[in-house]
């Protein structure tokens, strides 16, 4: 009865395509439950299938899904690989959906370990695998330590401390029921502290989602009709900033056109086809290609011409944008106003006159809470694994709060609380078995 495991198996945030790999008995069923077609289970082994990943009714991403049935797979288990569009947010979103629907996050080297244990890999490779697990564990430990800012680690520790205090008190009530000088906790009494913990978790998560973008860069695409001023905008942005990287090491060369750091905020400009060679995306490649670009991006700068009326194609694009982070950049504001448009995310500029670029930067900061990141003393989780775990903890805590409303006995609530505590422990790499007992005996005065 092995778990079904999932992990992002490509470098995050840089590639145009990211692959999320799922292995285990239930992998096909779990992924199937997230597809739009719900027909993945009917597909033959070793096929690639076009589909959408859904969160309820919401389309998360347009994807290609490889289905490989046991035993002829890498791990000798059922494997599903989801080829997603690679935006950090989208990829994490899909991983989170998988984790919320029955998958467990894979441990370092776990796919390879399973491959070996299931007889897939040659005996001679066993040493290598043991080394791999050791080094990956070491690596992820180091990474976790490095990535986990001391402050956020303390915040998670504090959350655990808050939870274990509630738990220890409940346990003392259970194990020493005759002691009436210890506060007897009831569902009503713990509700405020649980809500407070949830609030804190939520804050860290919100910060982390934005923080991740700061660290890895915001995948940004600039789209618009020909001659609308995309190139001038790009050049203006590039010109403004000396730290331009055009040749990025590794796999990303042909994908990321440039990294632009605007006062510490990293914009990864992706797929700027149509900007440099002035080929018209909207008109000639069409709406479908635009949709792909939109899906890949964390941020879309949609450039319109102030001097022209809105075309029907542009209206279609506007509708597509509604689900994403977008800014409508109205260029050529030095010319006559002919454009009529109503939207909250409008910035008016003149690339030619170098006007409004600051407003655009402010808008981006506002959109990703970056103002706060810069000015506030603020901490966040920086890797997808930690964020997924914290999201799981938050979801479990929500369930607990619901169960309290349903009047479940407090000792049952405590069992669920223990899971949340364990999940938080996984984030900071701590799960000290005796911690609860230590709490119990150090905080409460008991004895015969």
């Amino acid at each position: 009865m092995e778990d079904t495991i999932a992990a992002i198996s490509t470098a995050l945030g840089v590639g145009a395509i990211s692959i999320i790999r799922v292995s285990g008995k239930d992998s096909i069923e779990i992924v199937n439950s997230l597809t739009k077609s719900k027909k993945l289970v009917e597909k033959a082994s070793h096929t690639i299938n076009y589909d959408y990943i859904m969160d309820g009714d919401k389309e998360v991403d347009e994807v290609l899904i490889s289905v490989m049935k046991a035993p002829r797979t890498f791990t000798c288990e059922n494997i599903v690989e989801i080829n997603a569009h690679g935006g950090i947010t989208t990829t994490n979103y899909i991983l989170k959906l998988l984790l919320n629907n029955g998958c467990r996050l894979a441990e370092p080297g776990e796919f390879t370990k399973r491959a070996f244990l299931n007889g897939r890999i040659d005996l001679t490779q066993a040493e290598g695998i043991m080394n791999l697990i050791e080094s990956q564990t070491e690596k992820s430990r180091n990474l976790a330590i490095k990535q986990l800012d001391g402050k956020v680690s303390n915040m998670i520790s504090d959350l655990r401390e808050d939870i274990i205090k509630v738990e220890a008190n409940i346990d003392v009530n259970i194990d020493f029921p005759e002691y009436d000088d210890i506060e007897v906790l009831t569902n009503e009494k713990i509700l405020p502290s649980l809500k407070d913990i949830r609030e804190k978790m939520h804050k860290i998560l919100e910060n982390s989602r934005d923080g991740l973008l700061v660290k890895d860069g915001i995948k940004t695409s600039i789209i618009g009709k020909p001659n609308v001023g995309k190139s001038s905008l790009l050049n203006r942005l590039l010109h403004e900033n000396k730290a331009i990287v055009t040749d990025i090491e590794g796999t990303t060369r042909d994908i990321v056109e440039g990294k632009i750091s605007i006062e510490g905020i990293l914009l990864n400009i992706i797929d700027t086809a149509g900007i440099r060679d002035t080929e018209d995306i909207v008109e000639s490649i069409g709406v479908k290609k635009s949709l792909e670009l939109i899906n890949e991006s964390d941020l879309i700068l949609f450039v319109l011409n102030n001097n022209e009326e809105l075309t029907s194609k542009e209206k279609e694009i506007l509708d597509l944008l509604k689900k994403k982070n977008y800014i409508i950049v109205i260029n050529k504001c030095d010319l006559e106003d002919k454009l009529v448009i109503n939207d909250d995310n409008i910035v008016r500029i003149s690339a030619l006159e170098d006007e409004g670029i600051d407003k655009l930067k402010d808008k981006i900061k506002e959109m990703f809470n970056l103002e706060k990141i810069e000015t506030e003393d603020f901490s966040y989780l920086t890797n997808a694994r930690s964020i997924s775990l914290l999201e799981k903890a938050e979801k479990d805590l929500n369930n607990i709060i619901n169960n309290i409303d349903n009047n479940l006995p407090i000792d049952m609530i405590e069992l669920d609380l223990r899971n949340v505590w364990n999940t938080l422990g996984e984030i900071i790499g701590e799960s000290y078995d005796e911690e609860l007992l230590d709490q119990l005996f150090s905080r409460f005065c008991l004895g015969k």
């Binding site: 070996f116 043991m130 346990d171 194990d175 349903n406 000792d411 078995d433 005065c445 008991l446 004895g447």
Partner: protein
């Protein structure tokens, strides 16, 4: 061969071990230093409590004696945590310290296969690390196929009061002087532990008007699943609650350095239990608290008994202060201003075996055919001792018969949790069971101990055909009642909805099966009986109620347990050499070499062994042992 099995010690572990071994049919000898102390309760006069009460039920399910003697020898009984969920409820009885041991001794004397001998065991007969019998202090050698040590606190026991240390047991008897040294000589790691007990007060010198009465439950309650005698719930003996005063605190603070543990003695090495600190510990560690709760517990209703007839046990007041300070302390308590102390409080230090040196069967890893149970394994508590005792008795018998041992899993019994913790985690202080130690506590309830364990008692030969039939009838009725509730629906009539509103439940929109209605937390089985006549026993109705109401949680726990069992089924060969696995972390290597787990699941539960170490271990095992060469 003089005997098949020898049990050393007549405490709670020894009694269950000797009864199990002899009832299974083996010629058994129980050696005790004093036959009058058989099944004695040297500490508190209660049996059961949170988690512990469930252990007593488990012992009964397996065919042990503790629950039956406690039922008959109790003077009060309660269900603890009644207002909480079913998983944490547990029975606690105040047992009569005169009657309980008497009943137990009668049971021992009834067994044809069992001989009781008074004597002090000082050594074992050991050949090539195989135990073949015992040697008494007078040099007598008695041979056997296996030996069960249940020596309690009697290995090099020291009683400590103030600045005095005397080598004696709880009743002033001579302890075993050499047995623990000899065990060390055979290669065992011996540790020193400590515990304590409070004063006993003359019950006629207490002014009860200054106390709060703590009665037993109105409902008749029993530990045992078998036939029991009814009793008059109104005639239970109450306990009384009082609190320490500012004066108590002042006296203790002023005299603190006279307590054995605070400077009175300079050579205290034993580690005391965290969950039962002495009163001076509480005052030091929780100095902000002005008062501490104490329970006055009667030890016996047999008034002419010379030891326990007139005594009240002051639960919560254990101390190692000298006698003169104890007088001041006791007299500072409300209602005890003129109290007469019949026996002073004391601390006791004793030797124990570090428990990672035994197998999950309770057989020693170094000395084969040697089993240990109770305080010698580092536990504390009558129930923990008895739980190990019955397992040691069963497994010593099975060893003699050449059968596989009975190993209860963590998802099957608190006894399983207890032994697994001892073997895999070791101990720092005397081990007490707590509900928080049981990750599957939802499965380990007081109500279902028979459903969980009777089958093992039957297989071991301690549960009769008749007892088994009774259980099977219960199981059938549980299923029948579930079916009945699935087949009967009610519709949203005015009457139905009025009733539901009256019990604070949401009125119906559509028809609903009674089975589904019972899932609502606020709907009780008695409410279901408003809609349907049910002719079932309370036990059956309770099972069905719990199973339906907590179905989701129970299934989740069962799923988790299955995962654990799966890992437990991945065996580690006996001959594995951990020094050959180079990638494993050094702490993990050391712990694995020490505990020598028999399965991957067990390895994972060893403290200091991380999941990555387990992964590496699994790959190593596959490579070295299980690689399919095809």
């Amino acid at each position: 061969m003089d005997y098949e099995i020898i049990v050393v010690g007549g405490g709670h572990a020894g009694c269950e071990a000797a009864l199990a071994a002899s009832r299974i049919g083996h010629k058994t000898l129980l050696v005790t230093s004093n036959v009058n102390n058989i099944a004695d309760m040297p500490c508190n006069p209660s049996i059961g409590g949170s988690a512990k009460g469930i252990v007593v039920r488990e012992i009964d399910a397996l065919g042990g004696q503790m629950g039956k003697c406690a039922d008959e020898g109790k003077i009060q009984i309660k269900m603890l945590n009644n207002a909480k969920g079913p998983a944490v409820q547990a029975l606690r009885a105040q047992a009569d310290k005169v009657i309980y041991p008497k009943l137990m001794r009668k049971e021992l004397e009834k067994e044809e296969n069992l001989t009781i001998l008074e004597g002090m065991v000082e050594d074992l007969i050991v050949e090539d690390n195989v135990v073949k019998g015992i040697i008494l202090s007078d040099g007598t050698r008695i041979s056997s196929k296996s030996v069960i040590l249940t020596t309690g606190t009697y290995l090099k026991a020291d009683i400590m009061v103030g600045d005095t240390r005397r080598r004696e047991g709880p009743h002033g008897e001579k302890p075993s002087q050499h047995l623990s040294d000899n065990l060390r000589k055979y290669g065992l790691n011996i540790i020193r532990l400590k515990t304590g007990t409070p004063q006993r007060i003359d019950k006629s010198t207490i002014d009860y008007s200054k106390t709060r009465v703590e009665p037993g439950d109105d409902k008749m309650l029993f530990f045992s699943f078998d036939e029991h005698k009814e009793y008059d719930t109104s005639k239970q003996t109450p306990c009384h609650l009082i609190y320490t005063t500012a004066e108590t605190k002042r006296i203790i603070k002023e005299n603190l350095n006279k307590a054995s543990m605070y400077g009175g003695l300079s050579d205290v090495t034993g580690v005391g239990p965290r969950y039962c600190p002495s009163i001076e510990d509480k005052i030091v560690r929780f100095s902000d608290k002005d008062k501490h709760q104490l329970f006055l517990e009667p030890e016996s209703n047999i008034e002419d008994d010379p030891t326990y007839g007139n005594t009240i046990y002051v639960q919560g007041f254990s101390t190692s202060m000298p006698h003169d300070v104890q007088e001041l302390m006791v007299h500072s308590l409300p209602g005890l201003e003129n109290a007469k102390i019949l026996k002073y409080a004391y601390a006791i230090e004793y030797d124990a075996i570090y428990p990672t040196q035994m197998n999950l069967s309770l057989e020693n890893k170094v000395l084969s055919n040697l089993f240990t149970a109770g305080q010698i394994n580092g536990t504390s508590g009558y129930e923990e001792a008895a739980g190990q005792g019955i397992i040691a008795g069963i497994n010593a018998a099975r060893k003699v018969e050449g059968k596989e041992p009975l190993i209860l899993k963590r998802n099957e019994a608190y006894i399983g949790v207890l032994i697994d913790d001892l073997v895999n985690k070791g101990i720092k202080d005397p081990y007490r069971l707590l509900t928080s130690r049981a990750e599957y506590r939802l499965l380990l309830r007081t109500d279902n101990a028979d459903l969980r364990l009777r089958k093992y008692g039957y297989e071991a030969g301690l549960i009769s055909e008749q007892q088994m039939n009774k259980l099977n009838e219960k199981i059938d009725l549980i299923e029948k009642l579930k079916e009945e509730l699935k087949n009967k629906s009610i519709t949203p009539t005015k009457e139905v909805n009025e009733y539901l509103s009256s019990i604070g439940s949401t009125p119906l929109q559509d028809g609903i099966k009674l089975y589904d209605l019972l899932k609502r937390p606020e709907v009780k089985m008695s409410d279901i009986e408003y809609f349907i006549d049910l002719d079932y026993s309370e036990e059956v109705k309770e099972q069905v109620d719990i199973n339906i109401k907590y179905d989701g949680y129970i299934k989740k726990a069962e799923k988790e347990a299955l995962k654990m069992l799966d890992l437990d089924n991945k065996k580690i060969p006996d001959d594995i050499d951990y020094s050959l696995i180079k990638n494993i972390a050094s702490e993990a290597r050391q712990k694995l070499s020490e505990v020598r787990p028999t399965s991957i699941g067990q390895a994972l539960r060893i403290s200091g062994v991380n999941p990555a170490d387990i992964s590496i271990l699994m790959v190593y095992l596959k490579k070295e042992y299980y690689y399919d060469k095809r």
